[in-house]
Symmetry: C2
Subunit: 460 residues, 2 copies
Amino acid sequence: MIHISLKRLLLKKEVSFIVREIMALLGTPVFVQDSEGRVLLGNAGEGCFKNRHPIKLGERVIGWVNGGERALVLASLLSYLATVELEKKAIGREALEKYKEITLLYDITEKLTASLNPKDVAQLVVDQAKRLIRADYISVMLINEDTGMLEVVAVSGEGGCYTDVIEALTGIKGNVVHTGKPEIINDILSDSRYVRKAIGVSSLMCVPLKVKDRVIGLIIIGSRERINYTAEDMKLLSALAFQAAADIENARLYDSLKETFLTTIHTLAETIEKRDPYTGGHTKRVMNYSLAIGSELGLSEAELERLQLAAVLHDIGKIGIRDGILLKKRKLSFKEFEEIKMHTIYAEQILNHIKNLKKIIPGVKHHHERFDGKGYPEGLQGDGIDVIARIIAVADAFDAMTTDRPYRKSLGLAVALEELRKNAGTQFDPDVVKAFMKAYESEKLLSKEADTDAKHINSG
Amino acid sequence: MIHISLKRLLLKKEVSFIVREIMALLGTPVFVQDSEGRVLLGNAGEGCFKNRHPIKLGERVIGWVNGGERALVLASLLSYLATVELEKKAIGREALEKYKEITLLYDITEKLTASLNPKDVAQLVVDQAKRLIRADYISVMLINEDTGMLEVVAVSGEGGCYTDVIEALTGIKGNVVHTGKPEIINDILSDSRYVRKAIGVSSLMCVPLKVKDRVIGLIIIGSRERINYTAEDMKLLSALAFQAAADIENARLYDSLKETFLTTIHTLAETIEKRDPYTGGHTKRVMNYSLAIGSELGLSEAELERLQLAAVLHDIGKIGIRDGILLKKRKLSFKEFEEIKMHTIYAEQILNHIKNLKKIIPGVKHHHERFDGKGYPEGLQGDGIDVIARIIAVADAFDAMTTDRPYRKSLGLAVALEELRKNAGTQFDPDVVKAFMKAYESEKLLSKEADTDAKHINSG
């Protein structure tokens, strides 16, 4: 509530002058008291005070004017001035709140739209909420459309133990999802819908993330201590939720398309490979080895994206090689091998049709070049070969050596690693081999194999 | 500027009471005039008025109190009340403006984030600007990153003649792009940077669309008549531009990824087809015929999307068929044909790996079913066959008949159309054939052939 101090009002230069002049005009003794009886102006012991006129702010008495009957004018004046002051402050407070809200809206628009990754957007929402509202626990949960369950996608506070939480649409959260209305629960223990969970919060706020009229998730804010979340807190959180919902939804659509894209080209590439039944899974493994090497070499996000696409599509040109040669189990003749070599050229021809994939042509076309210049199709040498191609060359060779082929069994890990080491500087870029060894030793390669996600794909 | 009426102030009940009481207390004749000399209170002819005290609002005199020396208190009181009133109004106006801005921000967030199509977002920006600001001409121009030119993507007013405008970064627009600062030019003819163009505007406003610190385009607003665009207009337009830039950029990224996706699967599908040199372009034609039929049948956007993807990938299963059979120029044996039929099953196996493409499996798998149940692989009948598959069946057959094949020449348009008609109800869905004929007659099929755009692809 807004407080108006009668004392401070009387200290204003103009008001002080006017009030003293009126007191002088009245001619009889007058004194002004605040609501607690303290004398603010005039001398209470000066004479007899027939009347006690209240100074009112709405229904509330904030002080008294003591004096004769005519001293009423002073009480009226002070009541009026206090009322106007209150109105001014109320409007001012509203303007300030609106100003804060606008600043917030611009700020979150700028931050949240900067990413098209749903997890990143959700994390930004959590960070923003933390800045705005007192809380020990903040999380963004989204409804998984396939399962209908709520999943935590970003969280702050209380350690990482609450990520990967999956919940049914029950209790308070279920209620907010179903009604689409935000809720403040300042005393959670007395709420009948409360379900005892690991999160030790006493007060919480739960706001729906809505796209048009569809609830896609929630922002949940909790305090360990019992505090009073206010309507103002709720308004700020709702403003954040409004923008966040749209941005998370767009990020999800983008992510879904990205996943579809990567899975599709990956599946098609694997299928092309499948004409050779011994190399199933080759594409995926080469992609994972390549990304591990790329991270080790400190490639940028954009380079890793190029690397991932090039690794997935590195053998796409084999689509143009006839079965009779591609699937041949015995040693190829010179002429047949010349035909096999053509897959690097075919790949270029295919990718040339796809504007946003032209950038990966060097990585794909040159993955059979050798560091010493004795490779194909162009006999490029050293740094003249795109780093993407130099990485794929190592990943491809390692996978070829460690899997069974039509004409021989797997060479085994030890032999394959030794071969890479032996050929570093001749067939392979020594830095790339070093990065591969480092990734191999830190077991990144193994963990990568389980990871089929499309992390680095982006449109160009 | 905010106006304070002394007359209206004196009419307020509380003020009127206080002023009259003070006048009574003064005991000598007093009257109050406004700045133009009109008497607002008291009687000017009543006696002698030694003093004339100004009622001041800042430096401005808004009236006079005429009376004795002590009447100064009344002038002071009215000055103070007028000042407080002015402050209240000023804060109120600010709050109202902020309120409008907030409403606008929520409104545009809701509208602009609802689409991930850059042209739709730009059109919404134009519509919003029209609602907000007086203008005869509004356009959104984006910088084409490949050409460095400004291109109109949405426009309102003065007919459609200004779409497809492409401009270099010169003149006023070039300036706004280079400085990143908005400009108001209320008299365009006197601006030295003005380049005479078809748009007959006299006053204009030009605001950059900025993503982080990068200018990606402009919003331009113009009036035929010379008017004064104000700082307030600029502020509204800038708020719109702020949100619009982020949304347009995200829509462009989405669109670019969509295009890459479609071009990639299309190119890969065509390449798979290319193992049979006689059918190059088959995939694209089947897609175009299918979409023409789908539009004719009034399919929803979501259905058209499914249709487009299914048409592009309808023969993807051929990847699993050996060259020896797929490329055979003579008639296939029974056993060989049984192998060819497997491509519908292979397609299902491939697409089953791609979560968001599972929805197109019925359209792909059943494009060789017949309306009378005599097709393959499952012998489905009538409406039991997905409408997508019934459409692709017609499109596929028409293209097969009108192109040269290894074992025969094209049958020609007339024969192909007659074949479709003859087999409507047996091999083909008669409604689909009817829709094809209608599309054929309205020449939609021909225009479609030039259109390689990815209009209906969306992630699932």
